[in-house]
């Protein structure tokens, strides 16, 4: 923890906290709002994993690129997507970030290097390799990051991507967020491995890191190390972040697969916001006032999203092609 206090400016620390708090409140609020029935489709909340997205993305700038998953809200917010436009998107509104055509699982903002959430498990990893090919060509030490879950690490595409990244020596980074579940299935069952997920990446010959993905400082430090390695032109790397999801796989999941008291325990012991408060050395009232600002923003986002106009039927035909 010492590292973080020393290397991060107060401003950077506050910014990181703000991002994590934004993700948390965004998701907690969605959890409530979904009950109203106003929000269409399937929603996968990122609550509990905030330190992972923010610990990684705090190191990045707009030229760096990330590819996300079905559980993408956290990555989007951490990378800098507009929160109000995101909320409108999730509500399916016309001026949502993707014009209401993508929804929760398909938020993207390529201008700032957010290349897309993705509804297909494992689809993102090869795309990150491609973005890394581009990054390498451009020669500005950019990197491309694939976020994947402990479930996605079993999809063939993820393995192919790791191999190809090693073969092509491109600045691709594989971030495995191990939240111990893929849907209703436990990590220990589905991931056949001699070690952890990171060890699988190592088997491809890339360097891998491990960190506590429920702790911002630990993630931030490990990822910083990793990033120096990759920006230094040493090819791809991987990191496994041990974390927790506080809600079900999707909203509506009865979570019968959880052990007794499990949800309470992870909320109590593995909450990255609590951990941040305890170890950041920042005064509680500074963080409280960020919380309040974030709450106001989320309020504004929900209010705006609910009030925003819906699409016209004719809009369905737009933007299939640039020209046809």
């Amino acid at each position: 923890m010492a590292f973080a206090h020393n290397s991060l400016s107060q401003e950077a620390l506050l910014d990181a906290y703000r991002r994590m708090a934004t993700i948390r409140q965004f998701e907690e609020r969605l959890h409530e709002e979904i009950k109203t029935g106003e929000i269409p489709g399937f929603t996968h909340l990122y609550c509990g994993q905030e330190a992972a997205a923010v610990g990684v993305c705090s190191h990045l700038d707009d030229e760096d690129m990330i590819v996300s998953t079905h559980r993408g809200h956290g990555h989007c917010i951490a990378k800098g997507c507009d929160v109000i436009a995101m909320m409108k998107e999730i509500y399916g509104k016309r001026d949502g970030l993707c014009k209401g055509r993508g929804g929760s699982m398909h938020i993207a903002d390529t201008k700032i290097g957010m290349l897309g959430a993705n509804g297909i498990v494992g689809a993102g990893a090869p795309q990150a390799v491609g973005a890394a090919i581009a990054a390498k060509m451009d020669g500005r030490r950019k990197v491309a990051i694939a976020f994947s879950g402990d479930g996605a690490c079993n999809q063939g595409t993820t393995f192919e991507a790791m191999n190809m990244a090693v073969v092509l020596k491109v600045p691709a980074i594989f971030v495995f967020e191990n939240n111990h579940y893929s849907e209703h299935t436990g990590y220990s069952y589905a991931v056949g491995t001699s070690g952890d997920i990171a060890s699988r990446a190592e088997a491809f010959g890339m360097k891998a890191w491990r960190a506590n993905g429920s702790d911002f400082f630990d993630t931030y430090a490990a990822f910083g190390d990793l990033l120096a390695h990759v920006r230094g032109g040493h090819g791809p790397a991987a990191i496994e972040l041990d974390t927790e999801r506080f809600y079900g796989h999707f909203e509506g999941d009865p979570q019968r697969y959880r052990g007794p008291g499990e949800l309470d325990r992870i909320r109590a012991e593995r909450d990255c916001l609590i951990a941040f408060r305890q170890s950041s050395g920042i005064a509680a009232d500074a963080l409280d006032s960020i919380d309040a600002e974030v709450a106001a923003l989320i309020d504004e986002a929900v209010t705006a999203a609910r009030a925003a106009p819906v699409s016209e039927p004719a809009h369905v035909l737009e933007d299939v092609y640039a020209d046809y």
Binding site: P40, G41, F42, G92, K93, R94, G100, R101, G102, G103, M105, H106, N118, G119, I120, V121, G122, G151, A152, N154, Q155, G156, T157, Y181, S182, E183, H184, T185, G186, Y187, S188, Y189, A190, V191, G192, P254, Q255, R256, Y257, R258, G259, P260, E262, V310, S311, E312, P313, A314, H315, V316, L317, V320
Partner: protein
């Protein structure tokens, strides 16, 4: 006869058939659920609830939860079938066909033919498909046209609980690979289901109603939309034949051609984009083989040539509707 919904009809059929034939195995992601968790294998029976209770009865050797590896799921089903089993593999969303298409289109579909005719590969793939739940572009597609185009596969689209039972039972008795499409928005649809063994031969359409003025061929969930449209039209004195092909490969061409011979007018309703769709396929068939019967140009009612949008208003606009069907029927009747 018992009344139940399609979800339960499928679940019961799986229970009955697995009881009957010890070679039937089930595999897929969370088909039991809870593997490797403190809660244990809970047998909620998959995200869709269609495999509930099976693991308790048949054990983890026959009800197999898998990692997220669709190619390996379908490939394992293929291999198990070559080795004498009858695997039922579940694709949680038909859209995931993209990550395992090879095992279906180049492997399972072709073994018998390539290997000289003696090799059976009786895999049943259950594909949960269809729009209507705002699941957006990657979780709502109806890829039956794609698989109908592949020789060697049979393609089934049950639309009632009775058909779900009869067709799934048939699939589990045959020697050919069967792509069994289950519409997610139809799971709660109720109806009577015959007790005891019940098989419906493939290639026999269901005549949903006879009306004589126009032939509507409707696929999957579109059957109920066609019925709604036909109700409205009936009130205006227009009688619709509604044909539910039930299987698109083999297709009951005769039932369609016979009806068009009577009505001279054809509307095909398909919840897919239009190009190379089943709708076009059926219209093409009738143009070739029922040309003299046709008194007006046939029409399709399909989704537009776009991906499936997320927002409620957009998905609604994307989907064919009873109103669209009604308009199309009026169009073919008023023609000329």
């Amino acid at each position: 006869m018992a009344i139940m919904n399609i979800r339960d009809a499928i679940n019961r059929t799986l229970h009955d058939e697995m009881e009957r034939d010890p070679n039937i195995i089930l595999l897929g992601e969370d088909v039991a659920g809870g593997a490797g968790t403190a809660g244990g294998q809970e047998s909620i029976g998959g995200i869709w609830g269609t495999s509930g209770g099976l693991i308790g009865k048949f054990g983890a050797d026959r009800v197999i939860d898998t990692p997220i590896s669709e190619s390996a799921i379908i490939g394992a089903a293929a291999g198990a079938a070559l080795a004498g089993k009858r695997p039922v593999a579940e694709l949680m969303f038909a859209d995931f066909i993209g990550v395992c298409a090879d095992q279906i289109i180049n492997q399972i579909a072709k073994f018998r033919y390539m290997f000289g005719g003696e090799t059976a590969c009786p895999v049943v793939v259950r594909l949960i498909y269809g729009a209507g739940m705002n699941a957006a572009a990657q979780h709502s597609q109806a890829f039956y046209n794609l698989l109908t185009s592949v020789p060697g596969l049979k393609v089934v689209l049950p639309t009632t609980p009775a058909d779900a039972k009869g067709l799934l039972t048939e699939a589990l008795h045959g020697q050919d690979p069967v792509m069994f499409f289950e519409h997610k928005a139809l799971y709660t649809k109720k109806g009577e289901v015959p007790d005891g063994p019940y098989r419906i031969p493939f290639g026999h359409a269901r005549m949903v109603r006879e009306g004589g003025d126009v032939t509507i061929v409707a696929l999957g969930r579109m059957v109920s939309f066609a019925e709604k449209a036909a109700d409205a039209l009936a009130a205006q004195g227009i009688g619709c034949d509604i044909i539910d092909p039930r299987t698109t490969s083999p297709l009951d061409e005769e039932a369609i051609l016979d009806s068009v011979e009577q009505t001279g007018r054809l509307v095909v309703v398909d919840e897919s984009p239009p190009r190379c769709s089943l709708a076009r396929d059926i219209i093409g068939l009738v143009a070739e083989q029922g040309f003299t019967s046709l008194k007006a140009p046939p029409r399709m009612v399909t989704a537009p040539h776009t991906p499936i949008p997320f927002a409620r208003e957009l998905e609604r606009a994307w989907l064919p509707s009873p109103a669209h069907i009604e308009t199309a029927v009026r169009g073919v009747l008023d023609w000329g």
